[in-house]
C-alpha cells in the first residue's frame, strides 16, 4: 500500500514535538488517501527510531555515522533511499530550522512538487490540497502538486501531537550517504546567563510598530514596570538592537505563558504567535484592524499605541 512518510526530527536523542504533530497529520492524510502512515528516522545507531515507533505503525530507519548530526546532504540522501525502497505517495516535513533546510532539496531530488509552510491539508478528488499562509498571514492560499509524489512542510502547531501508545515495526533501510558538504563544528548557546522572562506573570511586548529604539524604551518598559511584569519584544525589535535577544518571544526566541500578555505594535506573525499563544489573557494594541494578532487576542484596541499606552498608565 502507498505510504505517507514523515521525516522525523530529533535533537540530542529527543524526538521533537513537531514530529509528533506530523505523526497525527500523516495518520489523517493517509486514511483520506487510502494510504498508510509511516516515518523515516535518520541517526547514527537507530536508538531514536524505537522512540518514534511509539507514535506511528511503521518506521524506516537509516543508520549511518554520517547521520549522527543533521545535514541537508545526509537527510536528502537518506530520505531518497527510503522513498525509493517503498511505495511513497507523499513526504511530510516540519517547517522547522532543519526542515526548511532540506525539504526543497529532497523535492528536487525526487523530481516532485513541494508545498511549504502549510497549516492544513484536505483531500479533494483523491489529491491533497494544501492551505498555507502568505503575506504575513493576511492571506491564505490553496495549492496542490502537479507531480505524482509530493513533499509538504507544515508550520508548528498545525496539528495536535500524537500520543504515545503503539509499538510500530522498525525496518532498517540501507542507504549510501555520499559526501556531506556541511560540517557541524559545535553548537553554541547565544543567550547563556541572560534574563529569563519565561517566569513572569505579566509580559508587555513591543513590535515593529514602536518605530524606534527610544520609543520602545519610553513606552514599553514603563508599562511593564507599572504592572510589575517583564518587557519583551518581537523579532524585528531585537534585530534592530532596541533590546536584548533574551527578551525575544517567538519561534526563534522564548516561549511564554503569562497570565497577561500585552502585544503592542506587533502584527502577530506565526513565528511570534508560536511563542505566546498559550498566555491566559492576550491584549493586542495595533493600528491595523486586519493584523492577525487580533485573531488570537482576548481584548483588542485598534488604535495608536502611543496614545493608548499612556492612557492605560493613567488608569493603573
Amino acid at each position: 500500500m502507498a505510504k505517507i512518510l514523515i521525516i522525523a526530527e530529533h535533537f540530542d536523542g529527543k524526538v521533537e514535538d513537531s514530529t509528533l504533530e506530523l505523526c497525527k497529520a500523516a495518520k489523517s492524510l493517509a486514511s483520506a488517501l487510502g494510504a498508510e502512515p509511516a516515518a523515516a528516522v535518520f541517526s547514527k545507531d537507530g536508538a531514536v527510531a524505537n522512540e518514534v515507533a511509539k507514535y506511528i505503525p511503521a518506521v524506516f530507519s537509516v543508520e549511518d555515522a554520517n547521520l549522527e548530526k543533521y545535514s541537508a546532504d545526509g537527510y536528502t540522501a537518506a530520505a531518497k533511499a527510503v522513498v525509493e525502497s517503498q511505495d511513497v505517495k507523499g513526504v511530510l516535513i516540519a517547517h522547522s530550522y532543519y526542515g526548511v533546510d532540506f525539504a526543497a532539496k529532497l523535492a528536487l531530488a525526487l523530481d516532485c512538487g513541494i508545498v511549504s509552510n502549510c497549516n492544513k491539508v484536505a483531500v479533494e478528488g483523491g489529491a491533497p490540497v494544501f492551505t498555507r499562509n502568505t503575506y504575513n498571514g493576511k492571506i491564505q492560499e490553496n495549492k496542490k502538486v502537479k507531480t505524482d509524489k509530493f513533499v509538504a512542510t507544515f508550520e508548528k502547531g498545525a496539528f495536535d501531537m500524537e500520543a504515545a501508545g503503539g509499538a510500530g515495526a522498525v525496518t532498517k533501510v540501507a542507504a549510501t550517504i555520499g559526501a556531506v558538504r556541511t560540517t557541524v563544528k559545535e553548537i553554541v548557546e547565544t543567550m547563556a546567563g541572560a534574563v529569563d522572562i519565561s517566569q513572569a506573570k505579566v509580559i508587555v511586548a513591543g513590535g515593529r510598530g514602536l518605530k524606534d529604539g527610544d520609543k520602545y524604551k519610553d513606552v514599553i518598559i514603563p508599562l511593564a514596570k507599572k504592572v510589575g511584569g517583564e518587557y519583551a519584544a518581537s523579532r524585528p525589535v531585537v534585530d534592530s538592537g532596541w533590546t536584548e535577544a533574551a527578551r525575544q518571544v517567538g519561534q526563534s526566541g522564548k516561549s511564554v505563558t503569562p497570565d497577561l500578555y500585552i502585544a503592542a505594535g506587533i502584527s502577530g506573525a506565526i513565528q511570534h504567535v508560536a511563542g505566546m499563544k498559550g498566555s491566559k489573557c492576550i491584549v493586542a494594541i495595533n493600528k491595523d484592524p486586519e493584523a492577525p494578532i487580533f485573531n488570537i487576542a482576548t481584548y483588542g484596541i485598534v488604535g495608536d499605541l502611543f496614545e493608548v499606552i499612556p492612557a492605560m498608565m493613567e488608569n493603573l
Binding site: 558538504r181 560540517t183 557541524v184 502584527s267
Partner: protein, 256 residues
C-alpha cells in the same frame, strides 16, 4: 569575491490587501519595497566586498516595478544587476523561479557565493535558495546569523530554536539564506542614489539564459482567512478604550 544577492520586491505587509477573483491581489492599493530579509543579504554581501574586494551582483525576478528596488540595492553599494522580467516566470512556481535565477547566475560566471533572504515576506516559502543550491550542485545553509570567509572556506552560524546556534563549515561556491538581525542594513546615501541611476541593469527573459522549467505545483486560489476567534475589540477614543481595557483586565479577566 564575486557575490550574487537574489532580491525580491514584495508588498509592504501593512498595506490594505484586496483579492481579485480569488486569483491575485489588487496592486492599486499596495506600496512595494525590498523583501526585508533580502536587505540583510545585500548588507552581508557589501560587508564581504569591503573586506575582500570583488563585486556584488543583484539578480531579481519580477515585473518592471521591481527595478526600483534593484536600484535601491545599487544605491546601497551593489555593482550591477540582472532582472528577469518574464511573465512566464511570474506565472510559475518557486521551482520555475529558482531555475531562472540559477541559470542567470550561471551566465555571470565564476560566482563564489549566492546570498538570499531566509524567506520572502509575501510567499513565506523558504524554498527558492535551497532549490538554487541543488541546481548549482553547491552546498547551502539556511537561517544564517553569522558569516566568516577564510579563502575558500566559510564558517557560518545557523540559528536554531531557543537561542542555540550551530557552527558550520563549508566551502565555496555555496548558497546561504540570510536571517534577519545578522547585521544592520545601511541606508543609501545621496551620492549612492545618484550613482545607482547609472549602474548596469540587464533586463532579460528566462529564455535568454536557456531557462525553461515547468511548474511542479499549481496555485488554486487565495482568500482572506476567517478566524474562528476574534478579540473583543474595545471601542472608543484612546482614553476611553484604555480605561475600559484596564477595568476589564482588573475586574473581568482578573489578571492585574
Amino acid at each position: 569575491m564575486k557575490i550574487v544577492v537574489c532580491l525580491k520586491q514584495v508588498p509592504d505587509m501593512e498595506s490594505k490587501f484586496k483579492i481579485i477573483d480569488e486569483k491575485k491581489i489588487d496592486e492599486s492599493q499596495i506600496a512595494f519595497k525590498i523583501n526585508d530579509f533580502d536587505n540583510y543579504a545585500v548588507e552581508a554581501a557589501l560587508q564581504l566586498k569591503e573586506k575582500l574586494g570583488g563585486e556584488v551582483v543583484i539578480v531579481s525576478a519580477g515585473p518592471a516595478r521591481a527595478q526600483k528596488d534593484v536600484r535601491q540595492a545599487f544605491a546601497m553599494g551593489a555593482d550591477w544587476g540582472i532582472q528577469i522580467d518574464d511573465p512566464a516566470v511570474e506565472a510559475g512556481d518557486n521551482y520555475v523561479i529558482a531555475e531562472a535565477l540559477q541559470k542567470a547566475i550561471a551566465s555571470i560566471g565564476d560566482v563564489e557565493l549566492v546570498l538570499t533572504g531566509v524567506q520572502a515576506e509575501d510567499d513565506q516559502a523558504s524554498v527558492t535558495g535551497v532549490m538554487m543550491a541543488h541546481l548549482m550542485d553547491a552546498p547551502h545553509v539556511t537561517n544564517v546569523v553569522k558569516l566568516e570567509v577564510n579563502g575558500k572556506d566559510l564558517t557560518v552560524n545557523r540559528e536554531l530554536a531557543g537561542g542555540k546556534n550551530e557552527v558550520i563549515n563549508l566551502s565555496i561556491p555555496a548558497v546561504l539564506a540570510i536571517q534577519s538581525g545578522i547585521n544592520e542594513p545601511r541606508y543609501p546615501t545621496l551620492p549612492g542614489i545618484m550613482k545607482a541611476k547609472k549602474k548596469r541593469l540587464d533586463v532579460k527573459k528566462a529564455a535568454d539564459f536557456g531557462a525553461s522549467a515547468a511548474a511542479k505545483t499549481e496555485f488554486i486560489k487565495m482568500f482572506i482567512p476567517v478566524s474562528e476567534h476574534k478579540a473583543e475589540i474595545i471601542q472608543g477614543d484612546p482614553k476611553t478604550a484604555a480605561a475600559t481595557l484596564v477595568n476589564k483586565l482588573k475586574n473581568e479577566a482578573k489578571v492585574l
